[in-house]
């Protein structure tokens, strides 16, 4: 059990590192837009979705209605459906309450960081306890810190920290590319998302691009 938790923590270290600048940036923005640190704490605890929290806080400051903010959040976060579904054949050995608990910690980053372990088909709940626990903790601490310190924090861009998330996506993507089919899927997903980002609002482009790219992966035969 202890080893599994530590394995989860190790998988979470790059995620937590990536959440730090993103969380600080969200906290600073939220403070500027009139949210208290308690608002930020509960949003990070209960919603736990970076891009949706950024959008919500911008919409709040421009006076949007709650219904509009909630429906935008729904669309932006709908991509988690895909991640949750893709874990389902791999975590069949776990009980429903444990799966429910694991699912609430699914983000772009924890999903991808945990996927290699899950794909073995024997992932332990304690691994997810470590991975999701440390990642969520880092998100809450960095967003609340950002809100409390506000503009007293120096610009995280200067330290290159804004590149932590893209760098993590690069690492995660390369580690999951095994054959030529994966390269084609990646190019399809990337280019579709790029084109769609000019056509549709919000991060809805990621959802559509991922669905399309996954289909190309089914059509193309497996190659070594």
């Amino acid at each position: 059990m202890k080893n599994e938790v530590i394995k989860g923590w190790k998988a979470a270290v790059p995620v937590a590192l990536g959440y730090l600048p993103l969380g600080l940036a969200f906290g600073i923005l939220a403070a500027r837009q009139g949210l208290t640190w308690i608002d930020v704490f509960f949003m990070s605890l209960l919603v736990y979705a970076g891009s949706a929290q950024f959008i919500a806080s911008a919409m709040l400051s421009s006076g949007s209605a709650a219904a509009a903010i909630i429906s935008t959040t729904f669309l932006v976060n709908l991509r988690h459906l895909l991640m949750s579904a893709s874990l389902s054949p791999l975590l069949k050995h776990l009980s429903s309450p444990i799966l429910a608990w694991i699912s609430l910690g699914i983000t772009d980053e924890t999903f991808a960081a945990g996927y290699p372990e899950a794909s073995g088909g024997k992932a332990s709940p304690w691994f997810y306890f470590g991975l999701n626990g440390l990642s969520h903790f880092s998100w809450i601490v960095s967003t609340v810190t950002g809100c409390l310190l506000g503009s007293r924090i120096p610009d995280p861009e200067k330290w290159g920290l804004d590149f932590a998330l893209p760098a993590m996506f690069i690492g995660l993507l390369l580690m999951q590319m095994k054959n030529r089919k994966d390269i084609i899927v990646a190019l399809t997903g990337g280019i579709t998302a790029l084109v769609l980002s000019f056509l549709v609002n919000n991060s809805f482009n990621v959802l559509i691009a991922a669905i399309t790219a996954a289909f190309t992966g089914v059509v193309i035969k497996n190659e070594a």
Binding site: A11, L35, D39, M43, L46, V47, A49, A66, I70, T73, N77, L78, R79, H80, L81, L82, M83, S84, A85, S86, L87, S88, P89, L91, K92, S96, S103, I106, D108, F111, E157, W159, G160, L161, F163, P166, A167, F169, I170, G171, L172, L174, M175, Q176, M177, V185, L187, T188, G189, A193, L194, S197, N205, V206, A210, A214, F215, T216, G217, V218
Partner: protein
């Protein structure tokens, strides 16, 4: 906390958590056809590339393929480190370090 904020956060939480929760809990109790499983296996690469490309190639809302795009430049050492070491932590560190150096020299 203002009551409106409580309702807003609860609403956002509900619409975010249900899509996270339902597929994993429901689908894991079903046996899916092989073609669906094959489709689901593509999801990690498909989602990651869909997240990555725009974050590297779009700067301030426009497509940027120039050498002024520090994200695109910082991606190069990150890709090399990722390919050589297969280590996520080192990749993130390489990305942060090269991005910091680029910001320093280009601003």
């Amino acid at each position: 906390m203002k009551p409106e904020m409580i309702y807003l956060i609860l609403g956002m939480s509900l619409v975010t958590q249900l899509p996270r929760l339902l597929p994993l809990v429901v689908l894991s109790r079903l046996s899916l056809p092989p073609i669906v499983i094959r489709w689901l296996k593509q999801i990690p690469v498909a989602v990651l590339s869909a997240l990555l490309f725009p974050s590297l190639l779009i700067a301030d809302g426009i497509l940027s393929l120039s050498l002024n795009n520090t994200a695109l430049l910082a991606a190069i050492p990150s890709i090399i480190v990722a390919a050589k070491t297969k280590n996520l932590f080192l990749t993130v560190l390489a990305g942060i370090a090269s991005s910091a150096l680029l910001q320093f020299f280009m601003s």
